[in-house]
């Protein structure tokens, strides 16, 4: 009997990727791939210790799209997601959470935590 939850997770990930995404460049060192990524709302926060403004944004990317150097990979700290307008989002952990997590128990997609490191061109 098919796992209906797994099918549902795949359906949701496909819908997000096909209909609620934008084209971005995902970069690690000298490797990069153009892929569809769903941008979650940007959260502005201010670091309480030194009053530093930080723009946080999560991205949802289908695991099967994240291919660098012909290998399917997991996100890594310091990877960069670049938007068409030049905004760069660096993959960085949160204070209480690693830099990414699977969106479901099946690893269909990744929710990736990033912070903006430059403005738009």
């Amino acid at each position: 009997m098919p796992d209906m939850m797994a099918e549902a997770a795949t359906f949701v990930a496909d819908q997000l990727s096909d209909n609620l995404s934008q084209d971005v460049t995902y970069r690690r060192g000298g490797l990069e791939v153009d892929l569809a990524a769903t941008k979650c709302p940007v959260r502005a926060e201010s670091d309480g210790q030194v009053n530093e403004d930080i723009a946080n944004c999560d991205w949802i990317i289908k695991a099967s799209l994240l291919v660098l150097g012909s290998e399917t990979v997991e996100p890594q700290k310091n990877d960069v997601i670049e938007e068409a307008d030049g905004q760069k989002w660096q993959v960085l952990p949160l204070a209480n959470e690693p830099e990414f997590r699977p969106t479901d128990p099946y690893g269909t997609a990744f929710r990736i935590h990033t912070k903006r490191t430059n403005g738009a061109d």
């Binding site: 060192g29 210790q49 530093e52 403004d53 930080i54 723009a55 310091n78 660096q90 490191t117």
Partner: protein
């Protein structure tokens, strides 16, 4: 109108740091802020800010009150994504700068606005020369040097 002692001290601290430009291992311009403010997008440039941090008053004797004024010097820098949190050489250089600035105040031990320097501390209370959490979550070196000046009034 005369400035409040703590304001004069903060201004003098900033001036002294900037007057020594060329004498530091790295170039920067310190700016005085009432509330330090930076953006993550801007700390790829070395940023140095000074600010009033605290003002404590306690009785010293039967007639005088001891006023202690804390001034913070904040130093921030973030390397690019290639180096990330492994920018050891750059972070080493920044710690050297922190030591130079601290040494400067130790060596000169100035009296500013009639208030002698009485203490130098690091961090916001934990004696840390930099904030480890910023290395982990921002790839950023953040250091705070706190100068304490004292005056009987």
């Amino acid at each position: 109108m005369a400035k409040a002692s703590i304001v004069q001290i903060a201004e003098d601290v900033t001036d002294q740091i900037n007057k020594k430009q060329g004498g530091w291992s790295q170039s920067f311009k310190a700016t005085r802020k009432y509330k330090p403010k930076t953006k993550l997008e801007e700390t790829d440039q070395l940023t140095v800010q000074t600010a009033i941090a605290a003002w404590r008053v306690a009785p010293d004797n039967r007639t005088d009150w001891a006023h202690e004024y804390d001034i913070d010097i904040g130093i921030q820098y973030r390397d690019n994504e290639k180096a990330g949190d492994q920018a050891t050489q750059k972070f080493d250089e920044l710690l050297s700068l922190v030591e130079q600035i601290s040494d400067y105040w130790e060596d000169t031990r100035p009296t500013l606005a009639d208030c002698p320097l009485t203490a130098i501390a690091f961090g916001t209370g934990g004696d840390q020369p930099y904030i480890p959490e910023h290395i982990e979550t921002l790839n950023q070196f953040t250091s705070i040097i706190r100068l304490t000046f004292r005056k009987l009034r």
